[in-house]
Structures are given as C-alpha cells and as structure tokens.
C-alpha cells in the first residue's frame, strides 16, 4: 500500500482553500502511524496561529429541522460575506458500523457561497462527537469565520457539543415536552441560545416560547441567583427555517454571545475548560476510569496538561497522555 506523503499548504488552508481543507481533514482522520505523525505536526503548527472562527454548536432532537435551519444560517452568512464551515455528525449503525450521511442534502449549499461542509459518522461515539469531528473543528477554527457543528441529541450528549462550541444553540419544536423535562431536571446544561423552530403558527410558537422561558427561569433560579453583572441572558427565539422567520435574529444572537464571551474575557477560559472537559472525556473513553486514575484523576490531567510544551496542539497533548497510560512500563 502506498502512503503518499501529503503536502498540505498551511497558508492555503488558513485562506479557506477548500481543496487544502479537504486534504487536511483526510489527513486528520488517517490512522496510519506515519500520517498520524504528520497530522500532529500540522495541528501543532496551526496552534501557533490565530483561531478566529466562532464555533457554534447546533443541537437538538431528531426531526426538529436542524439541517434546514443551518441551510438558512449558511445563506445568511454568505450575505454578509462570512466564510462558513459546517461539520455534521450522524450516528453510525451498531450492527454494521456503516452510516448514512444525509444532512448535506438538506443544507442546500449554494456553489457560489464560501462554504465548506463535511459529514462525519459518530463511529463508536454514540450520538456524540467523534474524535475526528473534534480535531476537524480544531483545524477549521483557523480557516474561516464561523464553524457550525450539527449534532443529534437531547440530554447527555450535549456535554459533548458544549465542550467544543463557543456558543451552543438548542433547537426544539413546539410541544417538545421531553426537552423541557431534561432542562428542568438539570440533566441538560442550559444552552446559550434556545431556538423554537417551526414557529410558522404564531400562537403555537408563542406558547412554546413561554413554556421554554418558564423552564429556563426555574433552572436559572437555582443557579444564577445574585449573578454577576454582565451575565448572559439565554435568549429564547421563535424561528422558522421553512419561512426564513427570525433567522437574522438568531444569527445576531449568536454573534452577540460571542461578543459577550470576548468582552467579559470568558472566551479564553471557556476554551481552556472545554479542552479539559474534552480531554477527560476522551481519556475515559479510550482507557477508562483506571486509565484516568493512573494519570491522577481530573486534577492530575490538569496539571500534566499544564506541564506540556506550549506549542503543542490539544490533540498532541491528549495523545501524549494516552501514550503515557498505554505504554507505562
């Protein structure tokens, strides 16, 4: 078998050359050792460069219209000349390991727009983000203005998306009673923005928005009392992908949240916390509780992380920690 050494042009990559992006993402997915080493070198190089993109996670139960909403958001970004990357994650079949990646078709990506879209199978991470998707987002942060990440799920898997996205948008539709239960029960973290899609029927949409607001108020009540000035008021928006209703408002809210993170200097910490949460999740997934214990638990991981070479990408840091467990004498 030939293992062609891939030549990835980093300047083309950060200038949104889609051919280069595709090749780089192929490389990141490649499990062959020589190419993995090359991938880590690429990621290390990128981590010394700015990562300007705003990463937005779009999540919610199946069938609420996430892909159609993303289609509208893509069109909106194109209007204001932003470069967009989309990462869509679909579940893999437990039986065959295969996957049908169908979101792309629903996104109706115009060939004229500056959009790069890639679908990922969740593989062994049921419903959540695959390792490949994480490193893809890590790379794409350097290449464009906005990264939209679509994942399916309600409940636990949100922790995955929240550990990756700067802004999390939860999409629901009217009468999503189960989602409200999750929110109320605190099973689910409060999303930064809540979008009630399919708000074509005004009355239904108003009712749904007020239901969600009530649920959020309960939740916030238990956490946010006497919160600091400048806290984010998680907006609840009635939108419709079908009729293009309030898509601009949603996009503005996304941007406002990003600005909020920047102006309150939360972005740096948030990304650091995310990386840590992700690393711990990966360690648990790869080597289990025993492996985590070997590294000294969560605190151990945190301190080992800090000791590693600053120029290393998060992915190399993680790989090094995992090697430490696997190859410990």
């Amino acid at each position: 078998m030939k293992e062609k050494a891939l030549q990835i042009d980093v300047s083309a990559l950060v200038n949104f050359n889609r051919q280069a992006i595709a090749l780089a993402l192929n490389l990141l997915e490649d499990r062959r050792p020589r190419l993995q080493a090359q991938a880590l070198t690429l990621l290390d190089e990128l981590s010394t460069l700015p990562a300007p993109a705003h990463v937005v996670g779009i999540t919610g139960p199946p069938g609420v219209g996430k892909s159609s909403l993303i289609a509208r958001l893509i069109a909106r970004q194109a209007q204001i000349s932003r470069r967009v990357a989309v990462v869509a994650v679909d579940p893999s079949s437990k039986v065959s390991g295969g996957a049908l990646l169908g979101d792309r078709g629903r996104m109706q990506i115009s060939l004229q727009a500056e959009v790069y879209a890639r679908s990922f199978a969740a593989r062994d991470r049921l419903g959540g983000l695959s390792r490949e998707a994480f490193s893809a987002v890590f790379l794409l942060r350097h290449c464009c203005d906005v990264v939209l990440v679509e994942t399916v799920g309600v409940g636990q898997s949100e922790t995955d998306i929240a550990s990756l996205a700067d802004t999390t948008v939860l999409v629901v539709q009217p009468f999503s009673g189960d989602v409200l239960q999750f929110l109320k029960a605190g099973v689910m973290e409060i999303p930064d923005i809540l979008a009630v899609n399919k708000a074509d029927d005004q009355a239904l949409a108003q009712q749904a928005v007020s239901d969600v607001q009530t649920a959020l108020a309960l939740e916030r009540g238990s956490f946010d009392q006497g919160s600091l000035e400048g806290s984010w008021q998680n907006p609840v928006l009635a939108v419709s992908a079908a009729t293009n209703l309030n898509i601009d408002t949603l996009d503005d809210a996304m941007t406002a949240h990003y600005q909020h993170l920047q102006s309150t200097h939360k972005l740096g910490n948030k990304r650091a916390d995310q990386t840590m949460a992700w690393a711990v999740g990966e360690i648990l997934h790869e080597v289990g509780q025993r492996g985590l214990a070997i590294l000294g638990g969560v605190e151990g991981v945190r301190s080992l992380w800090g000791e590693q070479t600053q120029q290393w990408s998060a992915i190399r840091k993680l790989a090094t920690l995992l090697d430490r467990v696997r190859y410990r004498a």
Partner: protein, 657 residues
C-alpha cells in the same frame, strides 16, 4: 351476447422533438391505438426550457420537449383534439401543460368542453418515488385543486388527476401499501378541494366522480386482481363515508394501468413478453375491476428506449386480448369465488388499517417521511429476497442458461437512439419563437399570472392567457418558483432499518463483506467513505437509495444527497467529504453528457484518484464509451447481485488507494 367495449389502448411515448413525436403518434394511431399517452422530457417535467443549463443533455431523452404553444401545435398536428383521448404524464407543471393543450385545441377550433383526457397531476408520488416535483406540498396541492375546480366547470370530460399507485409499486410498495398510500393521496387532494370552498355541493360530487387512478399490475396477477377489487371497494367507501357521495356513478373506481416495469429484466429480455401478457390479464379478467385504459411497456425497456416495432408488439398484445380472446364477453367471472373474496378482504382490511395510521399522523403530507421509509424498507426486502433466490425471477436468479437470442445481439442494436441533433434543433426553434412573439403580450400575461397566484385566484385562466401569448414552460414555472419556492423530498434512507440478521447464503456473504470493509479501513487509513450521487433531472431514486442503504449495511460511510444534483455539486461534495469512491445513478439516458463532466470536474479538483462507478439503463456501446472516459465500472439492470456490486466497490477503492 353483447361484448363490453374495450378499454382505451395507448402507448406511453414521445421523444426528440414535437415533430418526431407527432409522426410516431400518427403511426401508432394508424395501427389501431385508440388514445395517446404523452411522455414529456425531464426539463419539461421539472419546468425548465430546453436551453436552461439544467436541461443540457436531457432534451428529448425520455420524452418530448414542450416549451410553448407552437410545440404543442406541432405535437398534435393533424390529430383532431375533439376526437382524441390524451393522457399526459405531467405533475409539477400539470396546470401549465393543460393550459397549453387547451390553447392548442382552441387554435384548432376546438373548445375546452370537447376535450377528453387526463393530466397525471399527482404530486405525492413524485415526492415518494418519481422525483419530478417542483414546489412544496402546500402550493402543489393548491395547483392540483385549481386544475380540478377549473376542469369540473369548463372541461367536464377531463380527468384532472390520475392518482398514481403505479410508482409506489415501482418504489417497492406491497399491494397493501400501494392501495393505502394512493387512497391517502386521493384524500389529501379531495380534502383540499373541499376545503377551498370553490365548488358547489353538486360540483364537488362531480369532481369526486372525475377522480381517476393510475395503477400498477405485477406478474402475481391473481393477487393483483384481488388488489384492484379491494381498491374499488375502499374507494366506494371513502367517497360515500368521507365525501357523502350518494350516486354510485360518482363513486366508481376508474383506473388506467401501465403494467409493471420493475419486474422487466435485461437478462433474456424476450421473457418480458409473457410477463406483460400475464400482467395485462390481471387488469382485464375481472369485469368488476377492469381498467378503463391500458398502456403496456415494451419487451426491451430495460435495455433502452423502445423502437416503433417494439411498441407495436405491445399494442398487439392489447388487441389480441380485447378482440381475439373472450375476456369481454362475460360478467365478473370471480363473483362468488371464496379464494378471491378472502384475499380481497385481507388486502382491504390491511389497506384500510394503513390509511388510518397515516390519517392519525395528520395525512399523507405530514407523514411523507414515514411513508417513504416504509417504501424503502419494502424495496430493500424485495432486493434481498431476489438476491437470496427466495423471490424467483426466471432468467435472472433461476434458469439462467440461455441460447443466443435472435432478437438482439448485444444491447445496442435492439433499441432506439435519440438523435443528438434533436436538442440543438429544439433550442434553435425555441430561440426563434422567443424573437417572434409580442413581448408586451408576454409581459402582460405573466403579470396576470403573478396576480392570480398571489391573490389565490384559480391559476388556469391566467395560464391559458400565458399559453396564447407565447409564454414558455420555463417562464411560467419560474414565476411560480419565485412565489412558492422549491422543495426537497425526504430520501427515506436514514430511517430504513438495518439488515441485522440475514439468513442463508446472502447473510453469510454480507457478514464476510462487513469484515472486508472493516479491513479496508486499515489500507485506506480510515473507514471506506462513498458518495452516491444522482446527477441530472432524473428523479427515479429507488436504485440509488437501495445502493446507499446496502452500502451502509455493509459498513461503509455513505454520503447521499438525494436527486437532481449538478455535476459541479457532485464534484464539490466528493471533494469536501473526502470520499474514496463516487457511485452515480442515471436512468434518463443522459449519462454520456453528465458522467464525463463529473470526471473532468474531479480531475480539476485534483481528485484523479477517486474512482467513479455508474449504474443505470446504459446500452453496451455507451458503457464502453464511459469506460474509455475513465469510469471504473458500469452496472445495468442485469447486475442484480447487490453484494457483488458492493464487493467490486471495495476492490476498486482499494486499488485506487
């Protein structure tokens, strides 16, 4: 003893240009055909003029291009429309083609009240199976409703809608599903008409009476007889209970038929003749459930476009059945048969249960995703059974030994080749037509069309004005596209259940293939990822959907985006997604145009190493052409063994790595 009148005999035809099709129609009529069945090309069916970018390579391929009223004049030159019974297979822009037909008749001096015929005008089965939809469900139903209310008042002998169960069977429906989902469609349409409030009670009853159906008849002809009897009983019930129609005349189940194409084989194609005969028997034997009109496919449909002689052979089957045999001389020969009655009851009860399930989901439009998933699942089961040999197809998976056929040598000598010049000719005439018309009339007509759409007036009068003014198919449709938007139907594949445990040889082979696919990931560096694409305007997605589902079940990661993709879109997806292989499905005959464009595009993106395989109705000469151009493999209907195709794909992807 008096013989019953025979059904209307038609042949689904049309190709190249209006003039070539007109010659064919007059030839067919001279041979004893008693009605016409117009096949439109894909640009016309999807509302594009022949010179639109998306029409390239598709003009005149699967039917006749009709861009304006002069094309319609030519199509029916020397065919008096007051004496003809014309069926038009048109759906998305049905209102427009009917307007052109009415205008052409008026130009012959024939008023609308004299016209007889049918517009297919069933959008639901387009979403589910056939793929030539344009607008979203709500405005589409409104257009259908407009055609019904207009014809009931002005074209009283017209069948405004042919609710199609035909394409549901082609998409894999069982008899129960075929009956149930077609009834759901009829209900969705009639509910829309009723709720529009445009018809008086008596007119609405007449509209119910004008509803007709277009059904499929497979080779299991006894079951088909029972299916049609059940269909009729259920329709009688729906019209009486749901719509309060008292007069039995308006409750009659009226249907036309095209017998099964799904079961026609490319291997030993002469065997299709006995299949067609038996299928025709299924819809004629039982007087109580006999068809009103029939069109039979040709024996060589799985090879390519039939020639006039092939169509003649099928017409002769109808004529022998009607004039030589005694089927028309008896009352219903199944009356009192316990077996037929029992089977009919089974289908009726199961069919009604499925209608109720869909009704609970809010009707067929709300349940579109569910229905599509049911069809894909049924089709997957059918393909699996053929592969396992449980479903016998003579000459395909049993009795495959054959002497050389004197009817054809290879594929290409026994089919009609569409003249590649036809497209250029058509486009030139379209351009000339545009310069000759009066621009002010065109603009005024389009303005009244826009007003009619926006003010929720009936679309037909303004459309007929447009037809007379010289508006083109593309202009009419674009006006509506601008207001209604467009639609993408569900693909149904995500919900198609995986094939966990297939017993027997196919199961073992599938398991072995899964192991191979897993191993391939080591060679490729990551799991095998493929793109299944449907380029061009062809909406027959059943084959592509099956391949996609089977690839998933073999362990591949499959990108599938649905129908009507441009070559550029497919190339972009292949690049962005980083796929190892591209599989294309084309049934419209435009492969020689579309596939090379995709190959060139891939090269331009530096994806020379991504192999391309193609499946479709592709004559051997063309297949050789495609292989020369760089296609790794070409599959035709005779390649029915899914697992062999999949294992080829794995080989090809590995070799290219």
């Amino acid at each position: 003893m008096t013989k019953d009148r025979p059904w209307v005999m038609r042949t689904y035809s049309g190709h190249s240009t209006a003039q070539a099709s007109n010659e064919l129609y007059r030839l067919n009529l001279s041979k004893g055909q008693t009605g016409l069945s117009v096949a439109f090309d894909l640009p016309t069916q999807t509302g594009y003029d022949s010179d639109h970018a998306l029409a390239r390579g598709e003009v005149g391929k699967v039917g006749v291009p009709i861009c304006h009223v002069a094309d319609m004049d030519t199509l029916f030159a020397d065919i008096p429309l007051d004496q003809m019974n014309t069926s038009m297979t048109i759906n998305g822009p049905a209102a427009w083609l009917l307007a052109l037909y009415i205008a052409a008749a008026e130009r012959q001096g024939v008023g609308p009240e004299a016209l007889q015929g049918t517009t297919q005008n069933d959008i639901v089965k387009e979403y589910l199976s056939r793929g030539t939809y344009i607008f979203p469900p709500e405005p589409s139903l409104r257009l259908i409703s407009d055609v019904i209310t207009y014809t009931v008042k002005n074209v009283p002998k017209w069948n405004p809608v042919n609710v199609c169960s035909y394409h549901l069977q082609e998409a894999g429906a069982t008899p129960v599903q075929e009956v149930a989902y077609a009834l759901c469609t009829a209900i969705a349409i009639l509910d829309t008409v009723r709720d529009s409030g445009r018809l008086e009670a008596a007119e609405f009853t007449a509209a119910v009476g004008r509803m007709s159906f277009f059904v499929n008849s497979g080779v299991r002809f006894i079951e088909e007889i029972c299916k049609l009897r059940a269909f009729g009983q259920l329709w009688d019930n729906v019209t009486r209970e749901r719509y309060g129609v008292e007069n039995p005349k308006f409750r009659r189940f009226r249907y036309g038929v095209q017998v099964n194409s799904l079961g026609l084989t490319e291997a030993q194609p002469e065997n299709n003749i006995p299949r067609i005969v038996l299928e025709a028997l299924g819809v004629t034997l039982s007087k109580d459930a006999r068809c009103r009109a029939m069109q039979l496919p040709a024996w060589n449909e799985a090879l390519g476009l039939p020639r006039p002689w092939d169509q003649q052979w099928s017409l002769r089957i109808q004529q022998i059945l009607a004039f030589e045999t005694d089927v028309l001389e008896y009352g219903d020969i199944f009356e009192g048969s316990k077996v037929v009655e029992g089977k009919t009851n089974d289908i009726r009860q199961a069919g009604w249960a499925e209608v109720e399930r869909v009704t609970e989901m809010g009707g067929v439009i709300s349940a579109l995703g569910y229905v599509k998933e049911q069809l894909v699942a049924s089709h997957t089961a059918r393909v699996r059974n053929i592969n396992a040999g449980d479903h016998v197809v003579v000459g395909v998976n049993k009795f495959t030994e054959t002497a050389e056929s004197p009817l054809y040598t290879g594929n290409s000598s026994a089919i009609l080749k569409v003249d590649e010049e036809a497209e250029r000719d058509q486009v030139a005439r379209l351009e000339a037509f545009r310069t000759e018309r009066t621009q002010a009339d065109v603009e005024a007509a389009l303005l009244s069309l826009r007003d009619a759409v926006k003010n929720a007036e009936n679309i037909m009068p303004a459309s007929i004005q447009c037809a007379h003014a010289g508006v083109t198919t593309g202009e009419w449709t674009q006006t509506l596209r601008d207001i209604f938007g467009e639609f993408r139907a569900p693909t149904g594949i995500a919900g198609a259940a995986a094939v966990p445990n297939v017993s027997g040889k196919v199961g073992d082979e599938l398991e072995a293939l899964r192991m191979r696919v897993r191993k391939t990931a080591d060679i490729l560096g990551r799991p095998l990822k493929v793109l299944i694409g449907k380029p061009g305007l062809d909406g027959h997605s059943n084959g592509a959907e099956q391949i996609a589902v089977w690839c998933r079940d073999a362990g591949m990661e499959v990108v599938y985006e649905g129908i009507r993709l441009s070559p550029e879109q497919i190339v972009t997806s292949a690049r962005d997604e980083g796929v190892h292989l591209v599989g294309l499905s084309i049934l419209s005959g435009s492969h020689l145009r579309l596939v090379p464009e995709i190959l060139t595009g891939l090269r331009q993106e530096g994806l020379d190493n991504v192999p391309v395989v193609v499946g479709g109705i592709i004559p051997e000469d063309d297949a050789e052409n495609l292989r020369q151009a760089g296609v790794a493999r070409v599959y035709t209907p005779k390649d029915f063994k899914m697992l062999r195709i999949l294992s080829d794909m794995v080989d090809i992807a590995e070799e290219a790595a």
